[in-house]
């Protein structure tokens, strides 16, 4: 049972939250590796140790900076992604505990996902390379398409719960999860998560057709941070969906925190599994879809939610 007044944790809890997020990100990496190995008909066992090997490899590799690069901005952008993911989960209650019980947690999450705009563009801009920069611009183009629908998608649960505090939103789903009567908002939210994590069909800013895009010039620990940031953002997006749409910690038998983790892992797994199935969304096509299809759809969803809430009184 979710507690309407969650307990704010101390420094130890902050570290624990960071640890849980990184563990979730690591689980996503392993799952992705296992799925890739299975698709290629290889034994899945090798994929489990793969993230460790890759991490060690990148830590051993030397950093490099192309000529005329803006190293400061480049590394700020690369290092910032993990930080933003951590700041996102800061408002997600884990059962009774939460890192920061902001009364505007929903808006906070939104502000953090906008910070990804800045960071990805900086990663693209920093190295002074054509393909990186095209990747950075691609992300902004995608962002203009997905951000407003995403924003209005998380408005729906907030309206449904009549609160911007994440714990209140979770508590308002006693009996009926928001995903059931806000399916459009949930789907659009998931698309937004895929997009700000540079994942699956929305991975065009680092697409093969631009030679790796924002990743093109990254090596060593810089590359590790950006890749870790992507997985952490995906995990944070999945974690935030739990109190918003999936009933927070409610569920039988298990305690609230366990249910939050179980639901997060399930959604994260679904998002990871989506990765290889769909071709890329070309950014020039995304804009019109975002504004002509998704935005009106979520607005209608918001209207429906508002009417239901008003009718209930």
């Amino acid at each position: 049972m979710p507690d309407p007044q969650p307990v704010t944790v101390g420094p130890g809890g902050v570290a624990a939250a960071g640890g849980i997020l990184l563990a979730l990100a690591l689980a996503a990496v392993v799952l992705d590796g296992v799925l890739a190995a299975r698709a290629a008909g290889l034994p899945a066992g090798a994929a489990v140790a793969r993230p460790l090997d890759e991490t060690v490899r990148l830590l051993r590799q030397r950093r490099r900076a192309p000529v005329s690069s803006d190293v400061l901005l480049w590394r700020l952008g690369g290092g910032g992604l993990v930080v933003v993911a951590l700041l996102m989960v800061a408002v997600v209650p884990l059962g009774r505990w939460v890192v920061a019980d902001l009364d505007v947690g929903v808006v906070w999450f939104n502000a953090m996902d906008v910070a990804v705009w800045v960071l990805v563009w900086l990663v693209g801009w920093g190295p002074n390379s054509v393909h990186s920069l095209v990747g950075g611009y691609r992300f902004l183009a995608l962002a203009l398409a997905y951000e407003l629908p995403l924003m209005f998608a998380i408005v729906a649960p907030a309206v449904g719960a009549a609160s911007l505090r994440v714990a209140d939103v979770a508590a308002a789903q006693e009996g009926l999860w928001f995903v059931v009567w806000m399916p459009v908002a949930f789907v659009v939210y998931c698309l937004g998560v895929l997009a700000f994590s540079l994942w699956g069909p929305f991975a065009v800013p680092l697409g093969r057709d631009v030679a790796g895009g924002v990743l093109a010039e990254l090596s060593g620990v810089d590359r590790l941070l950006v890749q870790a940031g992507r997985y952490a953002l995906l995990a944070a997006g999945a974690a935030f969906a739990v109190p918003m749409f999936l009933g927070g910690g409610s569920g039988p038998v298990l305690p609230g925190w366990a249910w939050v983790l179980v639901k997060t892992v399930l959604l994260l797994g679904a998002l990871v599994a989506l990765r290889r199935r769909l071709p890329a969304v070309r950014p020039e096509l995304a804009m019109e879809v975002g504004w002509v299809v998704l935005l009106p759809a979520v607005l209608v969803q918001d209207l429906v939610v508002a009417v239901v809430v008003a009718a209930r009184g």
Partner: protein, 376 residues
């Protein structure tokens, strides 16, 4: 000491390989990619992420400079391997692994690079920056570190008359025909002018030399073309299927490959998402094809040409499967190199890459040698 060895062992187990394919070395490259996968290593997309530089084929005319630049762009620890024929790859990669594991040698390499002032930080990104030398600015201040700033363009689709940036695409990019370079002028990510040329091939020879008369290898190469388009379209599952058909053909199991290709064709035809994402990219009208001297089957958009490529791969695989012998594969019409540039104009960078891949790899240069344009 034990810890260091553990770290190095782990790191080398996940090594990434940047493959440089010289013109004419396609069979060797496909075999090398298989060898890379067999070691549990992966293919790198860019020099920045690579540990091993694997040069496949004979380095000729102009390509040696490119390879040197790429070698400098590898961050290190790094190893270089050269492969000439299909059978060599596994041994070369084993040697490269030994070089990567050798901590003392890598430290010496790093120190030497630092001392020479050419550490991993001082490359020019290899293929990313043009250095055609054609940009003599009056004011050298406008070219910090020797890289000219983007300059205003006369004609701009946005009407904003800004940012014309000359860039050379190739000759080493993921899923890119060997030895092809395209000098483009970009407005942002929009290709305004493009001129294709060939480097690294012997004079008057095609970019991709005629494939060997071995039916299975030809069919595998056709599958490789399909995989390139699908990979560039961002559809990993489809690209993987095409590559597995390729590998099956290289292992001389034609029937399995045909089944995979038939299935892939079905999925490509029925994927609404792929239709949506590729429709209208790089459309060629019949008139335009005639003007550029292209065959009928390039007419349409990238998706149509992808289906043509799949059909060709299927036909080649069927020919191999049916005869079980090395029966000749039907010829496909070659694409003249001069026609490539005009097709890219007006596309954005990603679409341009798709168009190049969708033409297949049977590109032939103009009868007139293009050596000057190649800037070799």
């Amino acid at each position: 000491m034990g810890l260091r060895r553990w770290v190095v062992g782990r790191a080398v187990r996940a090594a990434r390989v940047l493959v440089v394919e010289c013109p004419g070395a396609r069979p060797a490259r496909m075999a090398a990619e298989q060898a890379v996968a067999a070691r549990g290593w992966r293919i790198a997309q860019t020099p920045a992420s690579a540990d091993v530089l694997l040069v496949v084929g004979e380095v000729r005319g102009g390509l040696d400079e490119v390879v040197d630049r790429l070698w400098e762009a590898l961050p290190g620890p790094r190893a270089r391997a050269d492969v000439r024929t299909e059978g060599d790859a596994a041994a070369a990669l084993a040697r490269a692994a030994a070089v990567l594991v050798d901590g003392r040698g890598q430290r010496a390499d790093a120190e030497q690079r630092d001392a020479a002032g050419a550490g991993p930080g001082d490359d020019t990104g290899g293929h990313d920056h043009d250095d055609t030398g054609g940009h003599d600015h009056d004011d050298m201040d406008m070219a910090p570190d020797g890289i000219p700033l983007a300059e205003g363009a006369e004609q701009d689709r946005d009407g904003l008359e800004m940012d014309a940036l000359p860039v050379r695409l190739g000759p080493v990019l993921p899923d890119w025909p060997a030895g092809l370079v395209i000098d483009v002028v970009l407005h942002g990510d929009l290709v305004v002018t493009a001129a294709a040329a060939a480097v690294g091939g012997p004079e008057h020879d095609p970019v991709s030399e005629p494939l060997p008369e071995d039916t299975a290898t030809v069919a595998a190469a056709r599958c490789d073309d399909v995989a390139a388009v699908l990979a560039l379209a961002g559809w990993e599952e489809g690209a993987r299927a095409a590559r597995s058909a390729r590998d099956v053909l290289l292992a001389r199991r034609g029937d399995d490959a045909r089944a995979t290709l038939v299935d892939l064709r079905h999925r490509v035809e029925h994927s609404r998402w792929l239709r949506w994402s590729l429709a209208g990219t790089g459309t060629v009208t019949p008139e335009r094809a005639r003007d550029l001297g292209l065959a009928e089957d390039v007419v349409g958009d990238c998706r149509d040409r992808l289906l043509v490529l799949i059909t060709r791969a299927e036909a080649a695989a069927r020919r191999y499967g049916a005869s079980g012998l090395d029966a000749p594969v039907p010829d496909v019409p070659a694409v003249p190199l001069t026609a490539v540039g005009p097709l890219l104009e007006g596309c954005d960078l990603g679409a341009a890459r798709l168009v190049v891949a969708s033409l297949g790899s049977d590109l032939v240069p103009d009868p007139v040698p293009q050596r000057e344009a190649a800037g070799a």
